[in-house]
Symmetry: C2
Subunit: 275 residues, 2 copies
């Protein structure tokens, strides 16, 4: 018997992956959670029928969410990750020696539990002494925080279901308040082939709040279209003006200091979305 | 009834696209040719079960094959395209006013015929007065040419079937001979997620023949992994050393002069393939 996982990334297009077995499937309080073992991409976490991360290509997303803002900030000490219960972003955050504390606020404790169980190379860093894991609503956490964080990373699911409010302007205003005076945030903002309007809207909202707003991309094979965008809002530090001396050696598989700048050079049709 | 086209891009992973109808299907002298009309990507040309081009995302591949070498060469007059029977690369080549002649050598006349019939926005340029269309073996054409072309573009199918010999070192030696003393060539060299060895081997072969050898990438949603590579071999002109004044205005949807440089900034795992 051959088992294939097929995800309709749009109503009319999708990916299909041969699987060895389903490791876990559960309707949590917030979403449908599936952990499957695929032949091409290793273990794969699927939430509400959408690939969140896989063992083989997870490094792209996690490195690019973390290192672009962290190398932009001159001395990040206190970092917040909203969502990201698989722990991959936290793992990358901890590679920066200046970071004293990394808080993870994930709404769904089951994501943390099953990532620790089945994706230890991704979730292992959640047990680090510098990490504070909170199973809580990221939106509410942001609403209560003030002048607290150097860098905030929004590692959310898609703008449907539990994460919908993480794509609203009010959330970005809360982030601005939660950040210190030279703080910076990044959010994953989906792909420019199937979600053009979302990227334009987020960029326009963030631009009204943050003096420096920029879009960058990375290639993630298991995400729709393979081209993913990230939106940065920054109060003071420009990701395109990082001094050479700021880049310290760091072990990565995707991020490089050359890519740090190059990832902001957008294909024309993407640049046009945020003009 | 719902019809879906599913392509196994590897034995264990693929894409699936909802289709309106199959427009044409034929076993040509060289390969299986299918033209289908998909809902997400418009009309799609499939050769030997692999997506070659689609109306929606074709501009990425065609612009990036053509404009990177053409803006690198200071004054390209005589251009050769090997393969590329859909005409998309030729369409982009003709956007450069310095080009006096563009020769297309496509082994399979059926690809030209059905591209003209079903993909007129891509193949229309093949009727331009500056274009010489030859239905012939590109390998043999190269073997006979000497000191003739400014720029050669190898727009081939995958390294199986009719295009296999277009990935051999002897072919690149022939290209070097066919190029003028300051000539430059580019070849599509598949993706770095599933075909690491191919990229390394081509780069190493080309490097033994051309003093300047470089790899660049572009995002193509309907190609395996969404990340595609192109290998450049150049006798004199470096794509990373193009003078600002060389870039003239050109209508594109993907290529920009900023991307011209940024596309050479490789993800670390890709850079490691060509070290």
């Amino acid at each position: 018997m051959e088992l294939w996982y097929t995800e309709k990334q749009t109503e009319r297009f999708g990916i299909t992956a041969k699987i060895k077995e389903t490791l876990h499937t559960e309707q949590t309080e917030f979403q449908k959670l599936d952990m499957i073992d695929t032949e091409e991409f290793g273990k794969m976490l699927v939430l509400d029928g959408m690939v969140m991360t896989t063992e083989v290509d997870e490094f792209v997303y996690h490195e690019m969410v973390a290192h672009v803002p962290l190398f932009t900030h001159p001395h990040p000490k206190n970092v917040l990750v909203v969502g990201g219960g698989d722990g991959g972003v936290i793992r990358e955050v901890l590679k920066h020696p200046s970071v004293e504390k990394a808080t993870l606020v994930e709404i769904d404790g089951k994501v943390i539990e099953y990532s620790k169980k089945y994706l230890p190379t991704i979730a292992g860093a959640l047990d680090d002494a510098r990490v504070d894991v909170q199973v809580d609503d990221g939106f509410m956490h942001i609403a209560k925080a003030e002048n607290e964080y150097d860098v905030i990373m929004v590692d959310s699911t898609e703008p449907v279901g539990p994460a919908a409010k993480l794509f609203e302007k009010g959330f970005y205003e809360g982030i601005s308040k939660a950040l210190k005076e030279d703080g910076i945030f990044v959010a994953q903002t989906d792909n420019p082939w199937f979600h053009k309007e979302l990227i334009s809207k987020v960029h326009s909202d963030v631009k009204e709040i943050f003096p420096i707003t920029r879009l960058y991309t990375a290639n993630i094979p298991t995400y729709p279209s393979g081209l993913w965008t990230f939106t940065i809002g920054s109060k003071k530090h420009d990701p395109l003006q990082v001094e050479e001396s700021r880049f310290h050696e760091i072990e990565t598989k995707y991020y490089t200091k050359e890519l740090h700048k190059a990832c902001f050079a957008l294909p024309k049709f993407v640049a046009d979305l945020v003009k």
